[in-house]
């Protein structure tokens, strides 16, 4: 196979332009391997040639990422690479985020495979691991050649369109992709083997990793509820009769926004419930058992809250993916924020 054309992306430090004082420099390309790209060339050996090194300052990319990535992309595209290697960025945060953005853009806009490397705690991992192949590295460049070899090994496989193994086999961060494979034993046999390993105190690795719930900082307390707008939100599946938004009974991808129009109570005859994860008999009889409009209206009248928001948000929280939950939560929050809502009571079943 002919040697692959490789472009390396580096920041100002690893590109040997300068330190923090040069972090504002814009993207530029150097012919051949410059700075840390020499380690990539060494790792490539005869398999590939670093035709150019593209370097940009960390602050330049962090401050105007879209324009900077577009400029970087133009420099990369001009070299017609078969593979792009970004970093590794180790534990350098701005650099890691830039490497992730460059890899994503190179793959999605140029259709060229890209790899990068970072330490697990680099913020670039959380931001880009689903959209880029990020090899796990140490915290600093002490083992640069070793790390470059691992990036290059994965990069070569991808550039040659060879099958890429699992994250554990290849050493990159899980991208959240589920792939069918043929197992050597059936599920009962594997489960039994796992149980025996567990009883014997041997290490056990689950085939179903639990989702990692990112911590959300607690919003500050609402000091003066007497002047606050309070909204009611539920994942309990209430819908107007006829389910006008087509809310899914499970695995929801949608939510509904339903005006209550100043009414003091919800009329059971106007509402239905599509949630398929619990017995909805009682909340259909009286929707207030799910969405407490009646008492919220009383509390509004008494001044305990400033105002009840006139729109109730609803979705079905059953077998809903974490990704869809996060997206719907963000979208509902954006609408509530735009409506100047101060606090939310979310009722859940």
């Amino acid at each position: 196979m002919s040697a692959l054309r490789v472009v390396v992306y580096l920041n100002q430090f690893f590109g040997q332009i300068g330190g923090e004082e040069r972090a504002g420099v814009g993207p530029r390309a150097f012919p051949g391997p410059a700075g840390a790209a020499r380690a990539v060339q060494q790792a490539l050996g005869d398999a590939g040639r670093v035709v150019a090194t593209v370097v940009s300052g960390d602050n330049h990319v962090a401050e105007a990422p879209e324009a900077a990535v577009a400029a970087i992309l133009a420099l990369v595209a001009a070299e017609q690479p078969d593979l792009v290697v970004a970093g590794p960025a180790f534990l350098a945060g701005r650099y890691g985020v830039a490497c992730g953005a460059v890899c994503e853009a190179v793959e999605s806009r140029l259709g060229v495979p890209a790899v990068t490397g970072m330490h697990a705690e680099n913020p670039g991992v959380a931001l880009y691991r689903r959209r880029a192949h990020i090899v796990a590295t140490g915290a600093d460049g002490a083992r640069m050649l070793d790390e470059a070899r691992r990036l290059v090994a994965l990069g070569l496989k991808r550039a040659r369109r060879e099958p890429v193994g699992s994250p554990a086999e290849e050493g990159y961060f899980p991208r959240g992709v589920t792939r069918n494979t043929r197992a050597s034993a059936n599920a009962a046999q594997r489960a039994t083997a796992m149980l025996l390993d567990k009883l014997a105190g041997r290490p056990v690795t689950s085939e179903v990793p639990l989702p990692d719930f990112p911590r959300v900082a607690a919003p500050p307390a609402v000091r003066d509820l007497g002047h606050a707008v309070v909204a009611l939100v539920t994942d309990g599946g209430i819908v107007p009769v006829g389910n006008p938004d087509g809310l899914e009974p499970l695995a929801a991808t949608r939510f509904g926004a339903y005006p209550i129009g100043g009414r003091g109570a919800l009329d059971p005859g106007q509402y239905d419930n599509v949630h398929r994860g619990y017995d909805t008999t009682f909340v259909k009889q009286d929707p207030h058992r799910l969405v407490p409009v009646d008492v919220a209206r009383e509390l509004e009248r008494e001044g305990a809250i400033g105002k009840l928001h006139e729109t109730v948000y609803s979705t079905t929280g059953v077998a809903t993916t974490l990704a869809n939950s996060e997206r719907m939560g963000r979208e509902i929050a954006a609408q509530l924020r735009a409506a100047r809502v101060d606090a939310v009571i979310l009722t859940s079943t």
Partner: protein, 64 residues
């Protein structure tokens, strides 16, 4: 379900009256049921007034 709410990181959690009717109880007479609902919502308002730094469960609302 409050342990699930804690696990996923909800910050202010009020225990309500049950999965099939979180803010009610069909076994109670209507006035008592509404009073129960009001206590749970008032507890939610108290939670909103309280500073928290981690998932916190506010009282038991299942007094039915």
């Amino acid at each position: 379900m409050t342990p699930v709410a804690v696990m996923v990181g909800a910050n202010r959690i009020v225990q309500a009256a049950g999965i099939i009717h979180p803010l009610g109880n069909a076994d109670l007479p209507p006035e008592e049921e509404k009073a129960l609902r009001r206590r749970i919502v008032e507890r939610a308002l108290a939670a909103l007034r309280t500073e928290v730094v981690q998932p916190t469960v506010f009282g038991a609302g299942a007094d039915h």
